[in-house]
Subunit: 405 residues, 2 copies
């Protein structure tokens, strides 16, 4: 029996993602389908690749969206470069660094963790000892830790990785399109992202780019591994990539000039990504990044006036994901619930060891607007004000407005 | 620099998928986003699970859409049940059986192929010898071979698999919603599909269902394997599932009553799937299946009058994917190109060893309409008529119309 139609409530999305989506992107997604091997569709694929390169700050020929969410991009980044038994060094200072270790471990990788308290960032020197212990395939770090709001500098990371023969893998899920991502300047080798954060495109795709060095490593692996023989598969294949769906050499043939059928690309989602990237480039990357910085500054000016404190390390706070320390004795769930129920505003709570300790306020892409900051501050002050005595909200709003100017 | 807006041409999609999508599904996809952990979104997830069970013909509690295309569903089906070295028996009579062998091989499985000519189907007895050779984890077969148009009967397959201690895995990508799929009656254990065929929802999701027996096997594996320890990953994990993104036990916790955050579900795509499933159940499954059968019969009546022959084995031809033998001396690519360029109709060519030998005409979901059959027959007769002498099209159209009555 058919269920009732689903009509989503009108929310203001200020959580850790998805962010609000521009109506132009939603309209693009509602266009009728064409085949995924249609010559017109192939033009769309090419344009997406071109625009993604610009947003990633790279000339990498291998730049395309994986047909899965950001976590699929993470998995693709590991499964294509790690073989069982290979060592990988991972910076762990939040949920997504932890997730990286689990992904690598499930693939049989030997995972070496370099740990910082959640909310702190790493220096390149932090990774030297772990890399020096023995050959590692990858140094993996998270540029924008969605779980803590920490903004990890990437400068110097490629040098320490490359000095030890490792490739540099960077998660830019919560930074791409909202915080500077400069793949070529970083000399990063494997960089993936998601669409539902600062790009403000619905979740479902994971843009991914590979440096020429990473691509070369893939090609060497493909050339040295057994080739799938079709009729008589050999009993073992220790060198083969443990995924068909995320095999980047096969995706390259589908998205590249060969156009060899692999899977069926998610057509509507790619219509949406195309329009979302157009919006990013119409606004201009520099203007977009400065908008993110300004609206985050406005938020913090307002929150400071209310007496609230940031969680992440000073000087390393993401404008896209603002982690707010929950004051002692406050029931953070009740505040989030009131925001959602009474004001239809979504924000996030803490994950893992930060559960109950922080709120996560996303100001990403289309959601990063001064009007949203003001609306949030007013609602937040009311919701939190039922639990503790807060300063008057008016000076907080004025402070936010002044900071946004 | 932003690229030009992308406006897809208006196509009639009669290829191997995607099929045409009902405007209601496109409109559903254009609704504004809510968070993927929003209580309202959780209701949507529950309704999708309920409707999927009905369409799959199952009471399996584990029934959900994977966040990837049909090939991701295929990979999830293997990676969760196979460990390196495990044996798997695969029926290979087309591209998708072949793909199954490659997926399993990449995971380190020992693949035992049971082969038929492309276009022919298997009997349960065909698998007895391969299963009897030694313990196998899975017997994997394709219900609807998209590459050949063959409709594989599933009756008796579970018995032969279970008698030998294997689980039965069935690909229903090109059958679900257009050809009877009866998971419980089949006693099939692992069944996956895609959205862009007979469900007429854009590509990007893979509905998947597990029998209690399959779920039990997963739980036994999870209980016997090493648990990811977080802080000190062990160096090896031979029993762990070689994928984080497609780990069904983790997806169960996200889609089940626990609602543990895993990845971010593709929200817009799920809006679309919800509306697409509503359309299926509003029409009624029985009516929908009979519509598919009738329109395919109409197509074949018309094609027969033009002197064209089916490719797949008699009595085992899919109504959703009609494989037409290319007459000797005909350049099949030129015909497809003319259909696309001059009539904006997409059909498919042959893949792999059937390249140049067949056309594939999909009559799936929203595309399966008598008006589309007539439009195709007229255009096809004109396009093919430039290369060979064909009978007059009018009797063919009349024959098609009569068969559709």
């Amino acid at each position: 029996m058919a269920e009732a139609p689903f009509v989503p409530p009108a929310r203001l999305l200020l959580g850790p993602g998805p962010s609000d989506v521009d109506p132009r992107v939603l309209a693009a997604q509602a266009q009728s389908l064409i085949g995924h091997l249609d010559p017109e569709f192939i033009k769309l694929m090419d344009r997406i690749k071109t625009m993604l390169r610009e947003v990633f700050g790279t000339a990498n020929p291998f730049t395309l969206p994986i047909s899965g969410t950001g976590s699929a991009g993470m998995e693709a980044s590991f499964v294509n470069f790690l073989r069982p038994g290979d060592r990988v060094v991972v910076g762990v200072n939040g949920v997504f660094g932890t997730r990286m270790t689990e992904v690598a471990w499930k693939l049989g990788g030997q995972v070496e963790r370099v740990v910082k308290p959640w909310g702190q960032v790493f220096t390149p020197a932090d990774f030297g000892p772990a890399l020096a212990k023995g050959p590692a395939k990858l140094l993996a770090i998270v540029h924008a830790e969605t779980s803590t709001g920490a903004w990890q500098p990437i400068e110097g990371m490629a040098a320490v990785a490359h000095d030890h023969g490792a490739l540099l893998l960077v998660d830019t899920v919560t930074s791409l399109g909202g915080v500077p991502v400069e793949v070529d300047r970083w000399e990063a080798d494997i960089v993936y992202s998601g669409t539902q954060k600062c790009l403000s495109v619905p979740p479902g795709l994971s843009p991914l780019t590979l440096s020429p060095k990473a691509l070369e490593a893939l090609k060497v692996r493909a050339a040295s591994g057994p080739v799938f023989p079709g009729t008589t598969p050999p009993p073992s294949n220790p060198n083969s990539i443990q995924s068909w769906y995320l095999d980047l050499m096969q995706l390259e043939k589908y998205w590249g000039s060969d156009r060899v059928y692999h899977h069926t690309a998610p057509i509507s989602a790619l219509y949406g990504l195309h329009e979302g990237l157009r919006l990013v480039l119409e606004e201009g990357l520099a203007a977009r990044l400065s908008r993110h910085a300004k609206n985050s500054a406005a938020l913090w000016a307002g929150l400071a006036a209310l007496g609230l404190k940031p969680w992440a390390q000073e000087g390393h706070r993401l404008p896209s994901l603002n982690a707010v320390t929950v004051p002692d004795g406050v029931d953070e769930v009740a505040v989030r619930k009131a925001l959602l129920t009474d004001y239809s505003i979504e924000i996030g709570g803490g994950l893992g060891e930060l559960k109950g300790k922080i709120w996560r306020v996303g100001l990403m892409g289309h959601s990063s607007r001064i009007g949203n900051v003001m609306r949030f501050l007013e609602a937040f002050a009311k919701a939190l004000g039922t639990q503790m005595k807060l300063p008057d909200v008016k000076p907080a709003l004025s402070a936010a407005e002044a900071a946004a100017r």
